[in-house]
């Protein structure tokens, strides 16, 4: 690493902190009592978190978000990896057309599916269920496309060797392709998990029961409970917001470079 101009370095860090200051301050505020906040004093408390988790059921919303995002990620990865393997390794009648249909979903704006998917799930009796949140989110054209590109970069000789030993295609996928695609699968897993964690419009449409709210819906509702400036309990709202942000924030700090590299690979291919 090259040495820095210390003056520029300090300036840059200050700019970075300023850029993130609204979020940083919101976390700080979540540990303040409402009284202290409105009178401009400083008084630490966990009361806001106790309220959010106890009275406002955010523990439940957190569990819901983990379950839904986790399921979407696992099923989404499984489905995308299988398809990516087939598109990378086989040429079959219709393969170009079908791959085209997968890639085209990247251009299809999701709002067009909102009303029909609501109707489909209503007919299947899946509104107000985890399945209703998970199923429409499972197919991910980007992940399939990305993984297919990645798998094409793995030498075919490795597949051939396994086939020689009498392995089935499923075994080749499981024993050869998936272990070698780990970085790409991990990147896509993170990408799917974060997108689903932050998903708002679909849970808003598909969920009416309070005990199935995800964090996003719970937070939006809590903030809107008392519309109108003066009655909002900002420190409480910020505690809820911090609960909503924190898992992704921590994950992001742990794997930031990995995630960013994944994004870059996806864009440049």
């Amino acid at each position: 690493m090259k040495p820095e101009n210390p003056f520029l370095a300090v300036l840059a860090l200050a700019a970075g902190l300023l850029f993130l200051s609204p979020v940083l301050y919101s976390i700080w505020m979540s540990f303040q009592t409402a009284d202290a906040y409105y009178t401009g004093n400083i008084e630490f408390t966990f009361h806001n978190y106790e309220m959010a988790i106890g009275q406002y059921n955010f523990a439940r919303y957190l569990v819901n978000s983990v379950i839904v995002s986790g399921l979407v990620t696992l099923i989404g990865l499984a489905v995308a990896t299988c398809a990516a393997f087939a598109f990378a390794r086989y040429t079959f009648p219709g393969s170009n057309l079908l791959f085209g249909a997968v890639v085209a979903t990247l251009m299809i704006p999701s709002h067009i599916t909102l009303i029909p998917n609501y109707l489909t799930l209503a007919k299947a009796g899946l509104l107000d269920t985890y399945a209703g949140l998970v199923l429409p989110a499972v197919s991910n054209g980007f992940a399939a496309f990305f993984l297919r590109q990645y798998i094409r970069g793995i030498p075919r000789a490795l597949d051939e060797a396994a086939y020689m030993d009498g392995a089935s295609p499923l075994k080749v996928l499981w024993r050869v392709i998936i272990p070698l695609s780990k970085p790409a699968i991990l990147s896509m897993g993170l990408y799917i998990f974060i997108s689903e964690w932050n998903n708002y419009i679909w849970p808003l449409v598909a969920i009416g029961r309070e005990d199935l709210y995800t964090l996003q819906i719970g937070l939006a509702r809590l903030y809107r409970v008392n519309p109108g400036e003066d009655i909002i309990d900002w420190p409480l709202v910020m505690a809820a917001s911090t609960i909503t942000i924190l898992p992704v924030l921590v994950g992001f700090i742990l794997v930031e470079r990995h995630l960013i590299r994944g994004m870059m690979m996806g864009a440049v291919k």
């Binding site: 993130l20 299988c82 932050n198 808003l204 939006a220 400036e229 864009a267």
Partner: protein, 289 residues
């Protein structure tokens, strides 16, 4: 026989999900847009293009189209210009530059609802950070989210703040792909910084710019969450975007016909845009360095 079926079995689950939740719904939306229905009544009478006529005759639709267009036309170029400029400063692999990339990228993976809530506080009239800042300079308070002429700009600001980091990361990837020899050659020729930026950086990073342009326009025309959280389209429709209107018509008024007509119009527009752009990209972008 089984051997020939193998690839189909592998792609079947993905294609099944895509068919049921993406492609069939497009056809369903088109069908529903020609019918009158309220979610409940047992019949869905065919009404031709009445829903489209209703939509095109309503002030609500033209207002939402105008607001969304302004949002897109301002925020997309703003994002791309800022991102290219900042990315160009963060190319070196130093600790500071890496920290900055992380800080700038963070909002783009953060919950939009949480960001909406946090910035609703930042821009709240009585207790917000912005007005506290203004007051400390002796300036009068602004009702950021209640003032029709101001609220849309606040949303553009917040959206730019959130998305900028993603654009920067993609630009950095694009900029790093430019061959260093080109810069060396320009340096030998004594090119000034601004000149090099205009004559080498900007044209050579064009594929990235097209890519970002495409996804950010599509994204801008589908903006929903930040508006739903911060303004609900208000005050007085000043920030009412197309998808917010779609949600209201479909899921608050239960007018499936008009809601679907709106969805189909927006869909047709965005698909046309995407196709035109992929043509343009196909033609213009194949002169890699």
């Amino acid at each position: 026989m089984l051997r020939r079926m193998t690839p189909y079995l592998f792609v079947l689950p993905l294609l099944g999900f895509i068919a049921v939740f993406t492609y069939i719904p497009i056809v369903q939306s088109m069908n529903l847009s020609l019918r009158e229905w309220d979610f409940l009544s047992p019949t869905k009478p065919y009404v031709g293009f009445d829903n489209y006529r209703l939509l095109l005759d309503s002030r609500e639709f033209w207002n939402a189209l105008r607001v969304t267009a302004i949002f897109a036309i301002i925020s997309v170029p703003l994002r791309l210009l800022l991102a290219l400029f900042i990315a160009n400063q963060l190319l070196r692999e130093t600790l500071v530059s890496r920290l900055m990339r992380g800080a700038l990228f963070l909002p783009s993976v953060t919950s939009t609802v949480a960001i909406g809530v946090v910035f609703s506080w930042v821009f709240s009239t009585d207790y917000g950070m912005m007005n506290a800042l203004l007051s400390s300079f002796g300036l009068p308070k602004v009702a950021w989210l209640q003032e029709p002429h101001v609220a849309l700009w606040v949303l553009i600001f917040v959206n730019t703040w959130k998305q900028l980091g993603y654009d920067i990361i993609i630009y950095i990837a694009g900029l790093q792909a430019i061959a260093p020899e080109l810069y060396d050659a320009a340096a030998v020729d004594g090119g000034r910084k601004a000149h090099v930026f205009r004559r080498i950086t900007v044209p050579l990073v064009m594929p990235t710019t097209y890519f970002l342009l495409m996804i950010s326009v599509i994204e801008a025309f589908q903006v929903f969450t930040i508006v739903d959280v911060m303004t609900k389209g208000g005050p007085a429709g000043a920030t009412d975007m197309l998808v917010n209107m779609l949600y209201r018509v479909g899921f608050n008024l239960f007018d499936i016909g008009v809601g679907s007509a709106l969805a189909v119009l927006l869909f047709a527009f965005l698909i046309t845009l995407a196709v035109v752009k992929s043509r343009v990209i196909g033609r213009k972008v194949h002169y890699e360095a």
